[in-house]
């Protein structure tokens, strides 16, 4: 047995080169440690220096309303572009506003300019209506009248309740929008809407080729997308620029008032006259469409009284095939 061999000198003679090797090894190790430690200290120093930053602290308001202190070097602009930016703004809505529309039926003589302006802005086919003027006759013995009808932007919107994917939603400023990047095309909202305000892109949208590559703007619903729902948006994109909606501005007969319920002020799209909303509704017997359904519309109507022109049943200009 080799290990039980009592002969020591042999072992002694082997020990001295072995310890020399160990010494060199340890020295090398120590050197590496020093270098590593130094590097760590140096980087720690850099890190600390960075932490101090410029020493300039800025107070910022976060999205959830908290004040926070942030070093000025740390502030980076959060850049949202294109569709992302549109979606962000489009979901939020315009703070502090409660948009409202008043339609004066005594002035509507079915010029249908509102319709064409709307269809042009939203890239719609002639048979696709965000707003349509209907020839109404409530009972056999009452007079017929023209009634522009768009989405009523209900405060208790049945369409929003039934949407399975939150594609259609209600914003803080009262507008009901539809996100056609998310819509699955189930058309439950169309079934649920008592005002028949919603349309569907059954076939390739009119401007599909021309709009290709355009960033989708949820406040304009352009580009329109095949297989998704579309509807009146109260021209949310125009409101952001503090302009009146497309239909309101296009009307030649002073039918539309549009404004902010919080300010109690609405502006006539034709005369540009601004009046008190509450007074306008009170003095003219303002009402809503089918309020008994509990939908709480944001569109008011002024009754078709004292009309200064006869009711004309214009020929239908709609194309016959679609």
């Amino acid at each position: 047995m080799e290990e039980n061999d009592p002969i020591r000198p042999q072992q002694e003679s082997e020990k001295s080169p072995s310890s020399r090797r160990d010494f060199l090894k340890n020295l090398g190790l120590a050197g590496v440690c020093v270098a590593a430690g130094g590097a760590a200290l140096y980087s720690g120093h850099i890190f600390e220096a960075k932490k101090e930053g410029s020493g300039e602290q800025r107070v910022l308001l976060t999205q959830d309303g908290k004040l926070v202190k942030v070093d000025s070097l740390e502030i980076k602009a959060h850049e949202k572009t294109g569709t992302e930016q549109y979606q962000y703004l489009g979901r939020e809505g315009i703070a502090g506003r409660r948009w409202v529309m008043v339609v004066d039926l005594s002035h509507c003589r079915n010029a249908r300019r509102c319709i064409t302006a709307c269809q042009e802005a939203h890239h719609l086919r002639p048979e696709q209506y965000h707003i349509n003027t209907l020839q109404m006759q409530d009972t056999p013995n009452t007079a017929p009248y023209h009634m522009p009808k768009n989405c009523q932007h209900c405060d208790n919107p049945p369409c929003v309740s039934v949407c399975p994917v939150d594609a259609t939603y209600k914003r803080q400023d009262g507008i009901v929008l539809i996100d056609n990047e998310r819509c699955i095309g189930c058309r439950f909202c169309i079934a649920a809407c008592p005002y028949s305000a919603r349309i569907f892109n059954w076939i390739e949208p009119k401007d599909a080729a021309q709009d290709e590559g355009l960033d989708y703007n949820v406040e304009l619903n352009v580009p329109q997308k095949l297989g998704t729902v579309s509807k009146c948006l109260f021209s949310a994109d125009r409101l952001r620029e503090e302009k009146l909606p497309y239909c309101v501005s296009a009307c030649p007969n002073g039918v539309y008032y549009f404004g902010d319920e919080n300010e109690d002020a609405v502006t006539n799209g034709t005369t540009k006259e601004t009046v008190r909303l509450s007074k306008l509704l009170r003095d003219n017997g303002g009402y809503q469409l089918m309020p008994e359904l509990g939908t709480k519309p944001r569109v008011y109507y002024l009754p078709p009284k004292n009309r200064l022109f006869p009711f004309e049943n214009q020929p239908d200009e709609t194309p016959t095939k679609a």
Binding site: Q135, V162, R182, I184, P194, A322
Partner: protein, 440 residues
Amino acid sequence: MAEKDFTLEKITGDLTHHIRLNKGFLAWMGFLTISLLVCLYAYSLQLKNGLGVAGIRDYVSWGMYLSNFVFFVASSLIGMLISAFLGLIGMKWITPLTRIAETIAVAFAAVAGLVIVSDMGRPERLANVFIYARFQSPILWDVTVITTYFVLSLLLLFLPMIADLAIIQRKVTTLPAWLRTVYKVLSLNYRDTPEQNRIIHRSIRILLILIIPAALSIHTVTSWLFAVTSRAGWDSTIFGPYFVSGAFVAGTAAVILAMFFFRKNYKLSDYLTDLHFNNMGKVLATVSLVYLYFNLNEFLVPGYKLKRADAVHLHELLAGKDALLFWFVQIGGLLLPILFMLFRRFRKPVPITIIAVAVLIAAWFKRYLIVIPTQEHPFLPIQHIPENFLHYTPTLTETLISIAPFLLVLIIITLILKFFPVIPLQETAKEKGVEPFIFD
């Protein structure tokens, strides 16, 4: 005591001899597959060009696809009525019908999910339903309960079959080796031990109880897709039970039809006897009477008041554009069948099957009448739109796409009841007093 003439050999032979690839089966499957391919081509057109290939437009935006969906959900309810309801109250005669009923339930429930996808404008965004799920929407409830019902039905089809598979795998040696391997795997090493029987029996019992609320939910929630809106014709508080009772009518008719087919083609007249047709006739008469009662409520009460929108809706149905279809459904699919089924001689296999066919066709058109006419007269007038927006007419492409789910259901039922015994083997043997002592 074994019933006269019934031995284990005879029962096993009778109930499994259809498990073979005969010419009739291959021809039938070939026909179904080719037809399905044609229909899938039609669907590819819809995927490419949009839902505009169908006749649905902005006003009637839910058409045949959706009435088809309602019909499929309705037909699938029968599994619960036969196995759970009649089974739990102690009806013994349902034993040979349970597998047919559960197969119909599984096939229709599975395909109902696909039908609704064919109605989506953006089927590729189906995952959004789970990613952005909103619990307020009845669609999410529907997805949940239909999936649950499908899984429960599948288990109720499978668990009672485990013993059968073990018996066939041991006893029917003429079957191809691969098929016996499949049975062996599926029979989960069943050896007729008291412990195994206890587990299976308890599981089935729990499932039978669970499936009752699940089945009621699927059709109640489906009815709510309509009843949660304020439209005349849909705005009804009895839509849930109205749909459920109608579903039992459709499903019972479907089972009678399947019974007749399998009795004749699989030569099962010793097991699916005149008694079973007679009893199913009584069941169909009973559920039809219940359905008649709900129909009376659904039309008479709004008809008495004639609120403006209801009046227009009822006029179109009873005397207007849809009157012919409406009266065919009510008289041909409900009143006359009930009258006939009161007499025993109309509950014999052939007449009751003819009645079932009429009831089933009427049941499909009934869903059509529930879904479409309501949308043709909304609250506000439909104006300044092309003619084809006014009245709904299904297109050829749409019809083909609507036929596809029927083919799929037939394929599923054919396959399941071709490769597995139509009549529960072990239970039948036990009921005939023949104990299948073939396990060591």
